[in-house]
């Protein structure tokens, strides 16, 4: 019997779970509020955008393969570099980070779901529709072309006359909303949903870095929200924030962008630190060296991360005092980061190290990321930065930390948790091929770019003249990019082949799992834990293993489990925002069609979109979701 009506008397829960309306197929994915399914949605959507961003990178590298190349024109090149950066950061790696957080965090802290399953779904759908809006620009009059930093005045309507930058501001605004929602959700989840006995200082490192990352999201994203609003108002309403002629100031944009933008870098890298801190102890069969110093270092990095933004702006002329201040604060970040590097090394030291695919990525991460960190300290020196600024040295630096750091971490994490997410082990053989092609390609692409930068090659130029000794290094760089592409294709092949295999991964497929997610089946049932586990120490499962126990000790008897209802409202709300965004973006256009001009120029489309979104919010508020229950007898069947 399919029953959709909410149960009004919640003191009498539904007797059986299957009385609740269950969606199948596409509707199941649209209406799901299960963190494990949302994780998979994040993974596919993030993977799709990662692929698009990767293709853009390949096109950029093909254009730069030789001097005076005419493969792309300058305009298209500008659009590609802008979209490559924006897509990779906001739509590629951040969603994949959220995929891993969603898949793993509730399991690691012994929770049945996140604190706000509805908001979790809403965060995903707003991200997806923001990303779709941004990428619609390719077929609706041209992509944004002012660089991923969208510096004014280049990004103002005077110099950027297409709708490209509008797609950037509105698309990122919507996607950013989703990220903020996700951040708040994970903060609340980690604060209130931990299993009995799991104190803060017993949380796995990945839970800690997720917690701190979410806090950075909470405090950094509102700044870019405002920045994007200001730029949108300048471009669409004719405001003067960045219009020098009317008293505006373009440097203000740079400040606001980087007050968000620098913490954003730590939003990206801290989860990778967490992933590495999970993989290395597992495959060294040792507990993480210096756990509390790791926690301390993570907090310190987050704190310092808000005080260094102006190191992106040394050349704007802030003056010697500000430049010195921001140089010193930037160099300080090397201290907690160094603590982490040494802790990982000391964890491996004397351990029974097994080089599985995840551990290869983790081991490759350490030296690669350290190189990126070292060039970071070089760039932190303000006088030297005047030479490095806007050269390929900077491009090499941030690709070392983001690709060599974060992307290697993500590949490691995906290989590590894949059996937990999908119940199937990825092929170790193909995984190792992925690692070697990817990391070789990576160093080929970006190591030479340090020298290109030092030799004076500017970033963001669409071509260069011959006979400046740039030719060979650029050729090597492009070949390396192709190799990274091959590595990614091997990974996709691995995913495809694995998906044809039957589900059969063990609860603890790596055999040395230390944390709670390895104490339950792969993939976990809808309710995760039949009985909430009792946590008796750091590395909860490992502690039980060393005590000779088969699994976790339950903290509660088997009982009825309350579950949230599936709902399409998050999807509908995001569609509403999407429509409102498009409507606002084209509100000043002449469509040459009376009807279209009427509905856009009078903000009717915007109003309809907002009505859909706010109407859905009202529905959500007025009709309470009492959820449904899974009864003990069904748990036995499962």
């Amino acid at each position: 019997m399919a029953q959709a009506a909410p149960v009004l008397n919640h003191s009498k829960p539904l007797k059986h779970g299957h009385n609740v309306k269950r969606h199948t197929g596409l509707m199941d994915w649209i209406t799901t509020v299960d963190h494990k399914k949302i994780a998979i949605l994040y993974l596919w959507a993030g993977g799709l955008f990662f692929g698009i961003g990767g293709l853009e990178a390949i096109l950029i590298r093909i254009q730069l393969i030789k001097p005076m190349n005419t493969f792309l024109n300058a305009q298209l090149f500008n659009e590609l570099i802008t979209m490559h950066g924006t897509t990779m950061i906001f739509l590629g790696v951040m969603p994949i980070i959220f995929a891993l957080m969603n898949a793993v965090i509730p399991l690691q802290i012994g929770a049945r779901d996140v604190a706000f399953p509805f908001l979790n779904a809403l965060g995903f759908w707003t991200f997806l529709f923001g990303g779709l809006l941004l990428n619609l620009s390719w077929v609706m009059g041209g992509a944004p072309d002012a660089g991923w930093t969208a510096y004014a005045p280049l990004s103002t309507s005077t110099y950027s006359t297409t709708h490209g930058v509008d797609f950037y501001t509105i698309g990122l605004q919507i996607a950013g909303l989703g990220t903020l929602i996700g951040g708040i959700n994970f903060l609340a989840t980690i604060i209130t949903m931990r299993a009995p006995g799991m104190s803060y200082m017993r949380m796995p490192m990945f839970a800690w870095t997720t917690f701190i990352t979410s806090a950075i999201i909470l405090f950094a994203f509102p700044a870019i929200t405002v920045g994007l609003v200001l730029l949108t108002f300048d471009r669409i309403l004719g405001a003067n924030f960045f219009e020098v002629g009317a008293g505006g100031n373009p440097v203000l944009w740079q400040h606001i962008f980087w007050i968000f933008g620098h913490p954003e870098v730590y939003i990206l890298i801290l989860p990778a630190f967490g992933i590495i801190s999970e993989i290395i102890p597992t495959f060294s069969r040792k507990r993480l060296f210096g756990y509390s110093s790791m926690v301390f270092a993570t907090i310190l990095i987050a704190f310092l991360g808000f005080m260094v933004w102006a190191h992106h702006m040394f050349t704007t002329g802030l003056g010697p005092v500000a430049n010195a201040l921001f140089s010193v604060s930037t160099m300080l970040i090397a201290v907690p980061t160094g603590i982490k590097i040494f802790n990982w090394l000391f964890t491996m030291w004397g351990g029974q190290v097994r080089f599985t695919t995840p551990n290869l990525f983790a081991a490759g991460f350490i030296p690669t990321f350290t190189m990126g960190g070292v060039t970071g300290v070089m760039l932190a020196s303000a006088p030297a930065d005047f030479q490095f600024h806007d050269t390929y040295f900077v491009v090499a630096h941030f690709h070392y930390v983001i690709v060599g750091g974060l992307v290697l971490g993500l590949f490691g994490g995906l290989h590590y948790w894949w059996p937990k997410m999908f119940g199937r082990m990825l092929s170790e053989k193909l995984g190792k091929w992925t690692f070697w092609t990817f990391i070789l390609g990576f160093h080929m692409t970006f190591f030479v770019q340090h020298f290109l930068g030092l030799m004076g090659m500017q970033r963001r130029v669409f071509t260069y003249l011959p006979n400046q000794q740039f030719d060979l290094l650029n050729l090597i760089s492009t070949i390396g990019a192709g190799l990274m592409g091959v590595g990614t294709i091997i990974f996709l092949t691995n995913v495809f082949l694995t998906s044809r295999k039957p589900v059969g991964a063990l609860d603890d497929p790596w055999e040395d799992g230390r944390t709670l997610e390895w104490s339950i089946p792969s993939p976990p049932p809808e309710y995760n834990f039949k009985q909430t586990p009792l946590v008796r120490g750091i590395d909860a499962l490992w502690k039980e293993k060393t005590a000779g126990n088969k699994g976790m000790t339950p903290a509660e008897p088997v009982g009825s489990i309350h579950m949230p209802s599936a709902t399409a409202l998050p999807f509908v709300m995001s569609v509403g925002i999407f429509i409102a965004g498009l409507g606002f973006m084209f509100s000043r256009d002449d469509f040459g069609n009376a009807f279209m001009s009427f509905i856009f120029n009078n903000y009717i489309v915007t109003a309809i979109g907002l009505l859909i979104t706010f109407g859905s919010m009202v529905l959500r508020s007025v009709f309470d979701d009492h959820g449904w229950h899974i009864e003990p007898e069904e748990l036995e069947e499962g």
């Binding site: 909470l218 405090f219 509102p222 003067n240 008293g247 606001i256």
Partner: protein, 208 residues
């Protein structure tokens, strides 16, 4: 949790009904987190305003524009509405839904009064002072900062209005109580932001 639900079914309420269930506690906590983010949002808007406050582009300056009596009236109204929403929560804690509803209604009416004054103020500036969004960097920053606050007030009015309707229909229980508590937090926060707006925008604008 079960206890709280049972009490709600009996028509009685626990002492702090907003925190009686895990869902309620989560909601209150997450709303605090959200307000932390809101602080940054308004902080950035204030920063923008402060950076551009003297960039009048030969248009009206703050000193020429602002009339203190109007601002004082708006301030007083919003301050009183913050007090009435405190009384609303006190009535909620005493399990007096009718009193609660009345205080919420008064809060909404005061909010509407504040919003009316703001709309009047903006329309005066636009019609008589030739001070619009596009006049100068100062005008853009002024309208964006104060307008964002006004939009928050408008959202709060609609929100509390919907909660009043729900209160009449569903009564006061462990599901409606956290919603009302959170909306009161929101309303206080709006008041706190206004304290900074009247100080930084209006009074310091007059001082120069």
């Amino acid at each position: 949790m079960t206890t709280a639900h049972a009490e709600a079914a009996n028509g009685t309420l626990p002492h702090e009904p907003e925190k009686a269930t895990l869902e309620g506690r989560n909601k209150v906590l997450a709303f605090w987190l959200f307000l932390g983010g809101e602080a940054v949002l308004f902080g950035t808007l204030f920063a923008t305003f402060l950076a551009l406050r003297n960039q009048t582009n030969e248009g009206p300056t703050a000193n020429e524009l602002f009339h203190l009596p109007l601002v004082a009236a708006a301030t007083f109204i919003l301050l009183v509405s913050s007090l009435t929403s405190v009384f609303a929560i006190q009535a909620m804690h005493r399990n007096r839904p009718a009193v609660l509803r009345n205080w919420l209604l008064i809060t909404v009416v005061l909010g509407l009064g504040f919003l009316g004054l703001e709309i009047y103020e903006f329309s005066e500036y636009i019609r008589h002072e030739e001070f619009g969004m596009t006049t100068s960097a100062f005008s853009s920053a002024f309208y964006t900062l104060v307008g964002f606050h006004g939009a928050h007030v408008a959202f709060g009015i609609v929100w509390i209005g919907i909660l009043i309707a729900q209160l009449s229909r569903k009564g006061l229980n462990v599901i409606t109580a956290p919603k009302i508590y959170v909306s009161a937090m929101y309303w206080h926060f709006i008041d706190v932001v206004w304290v900074f707006i009247f100080t930084v925008v209006y009074l310091l604008g007059k001082v120069g």
